[in-house]
Symmetry: C2
Subunit: 310 residues, 2 copies
């Protein structure tokens, strides 16, 4: 079953203590769509300017990504520049130029409107809702968000949350959204806002997945042990893309679409999301994923199993 | 097989944002010995003053702890006072009065000198070494330490590390000891100092266990999800005590003492250590462990399995 991914497509300039690279392929939808494409057919909705390198579009196509929803319009592409501090955890945004992204309205081609698995990657929550307005009852909707929207578009975000199955956010965002420092309590508060499931990302400490506590729906996934982290940009987007990609693949294999998506499928999707994220941070932009194979993904999934079981 | 635990025994005054309690049973050896006693015979070496409440000694005895190494001398017991900030992660020491602990020299009764499993709980590394000087080739030695000793007694600590099998420390201590922010690299540097195994505790993010990377000896253990944390004091000591206690029990059950302790036994010991720590933080001092049963411990171990497997 295909997945639909809507989000930003950007040209990034990234500086780490060791290196700096300009005009890299970036954006939440780019990372997520490439990651999802490891598992099956992926549909991308986003916008780029007429300066957007053909090579990047070709890379998407080569990954089998359906580009019927990619708008290319006159003007400059969305540009983002950021710098990582010595610990590689703290990031400062140096500049943002929205350019063509400023007036982006996601428009879904007819062929995308019944796609069962949807990832609303990180863009303004009003746009995320607008995507759902165009769809016919998707089976499972995942939304990602960020601190900016929690702060400046909280009402839009709250409206969106009533319509999504799973919210992905990081630990500081969960605390910001709920004003609750304890993540177990924060997850319960978020579930009360709408999503049946919440995935809280903790960077080098892994990810927590919360469902109904009454039936013991809780999963703690460690992070892959990495001695060398080259560029954390896009890790969260790759997580989201790997997550929805694997979920759709598993759901297709399971075949029972009368039953709601179960917690066990979500656990495995969290691990596959973590696998994709762990590869991605090994190089700048999407460079590492260019050489990763489906076999590599499966192998690292088994490594996760080895180091988290007892 | 019995375990030997040497460390501090204290009377603590602890303040959290919600509560304050004075003259609580505390100290690294108290927490560790009570935790270890859930798994089998436990020998305690420590010192208290003549003000030490009889009820605390009786509690140790009631847990079956061998008190032949407990020195009671004229003077005041070691006293510590600390305060937790709102996030319950940051702690400020308000006062320390070493009292009789200042001139403590651990002296092992003859009956403790051949004990196979040893936990050198958090005390000065020179004292930890002095314990090993009195022993006949223990099978497995675990040492705990803290930032203070890394800073003021580094040479003593380095000498000790050549003689221990496993070092337990938290993430900030690992970084302080090695001057390396990445924990994977920090663990490798610590292993090069002597211990074949390193357990790095990360509080609410769980624990990482490192052995030989060439044979894939790595284990990531999540923390138990707790919505309410009442007093984090002693969590690390309970972890260490539960760890060594379970290891000794498992080792006795396995029976093959020609072979070195294997990584799978250590994985399970990390989980049991985490189980004991997770109970302990649910109340002040050792109050929670008073009502915990061996069945509760086993049940929570199974819960760890449920929420960390996929």
């Amino acid at each position: 079953m295909p997945v639909l991914i809507v989000g930003s497509i950007a040209l990034d300039t990234v500086k780490t203590p060791a290196e700096e690279h300009a005009d890299l392929l970036g954006g939440s939808a780019s990372y997520a769509a490439v990651s999802a494409s490891f598992f099956g057919p992926t549909q991308l909705v986003g916008i780029v300017g007429d300066d957007f390198p053909k090579a990047h579009v070709e890379y998407f196509a080569q990954r089998g990504i359906d580009l019927a929803g990619l708008q290319q319009v006159p003007g400059q592409s969305f540009r983002w520049s950021g710098e990582y501090m010595l610990d590689m955890n703290t990031r400062e945004t140096r500049s943002v130029a929205l350019n063509v992204f400023e007036h982006f309205t996601p428009h879904l081609p007819e062929s995308f409107r019944q796609t069962p698995h949807v990832l609303l990657a990180n863009i303004a929550p009003a746009l995320q809702s607008h995507v759902l307005d165009q769809m016919t009852r998707p089976r499972f909707v995942v939304a990602d968000t960020m601190d900016l929207w929690i702060t400046i578009a909280r009402e839009d975000l709250l409206k969106l949350l009533r319509r999504v199955d799973l919210l992905i956010l990081n630990d500081s965002e969960a605390r910001l959204l709920t004003d609750e420092p304890n993540l177990i309590k924060a997850a319960a508060l978020i579930r009360a806002l709408g999503p049946r499931f919440v995935a809280i990302k903790k960077g080098e400490h892994g990810c927590l997945l919360f469902g109904d506590p009454a039936t013991g729906e809780f999963f703690a996934c460690p992070a892959f042990p990495l001695a060398n982290l080259h560029d954390p940009t896009g890790a969260g987007d790759c997580f989201a893309g790997g997550f929805i990609g694997h979920l759709a693949q598993k759901d297709a294999a399971d075949g029972n679409h009368a039953a709601p998506v179960g917690f066990d499928a979500l656990r495995q999707a969290v691990v596959f999301g973590s696998v994709l994220a762990s590869f991605n941070v090994e190089a700048f932009s999407l460079e590492r994923l260019r050489s990763v194979t489906e076999k590599d993904v499966q192998k690292r999934f088994e490594e996760f199993r080895r180091f988290s079981q007892f």
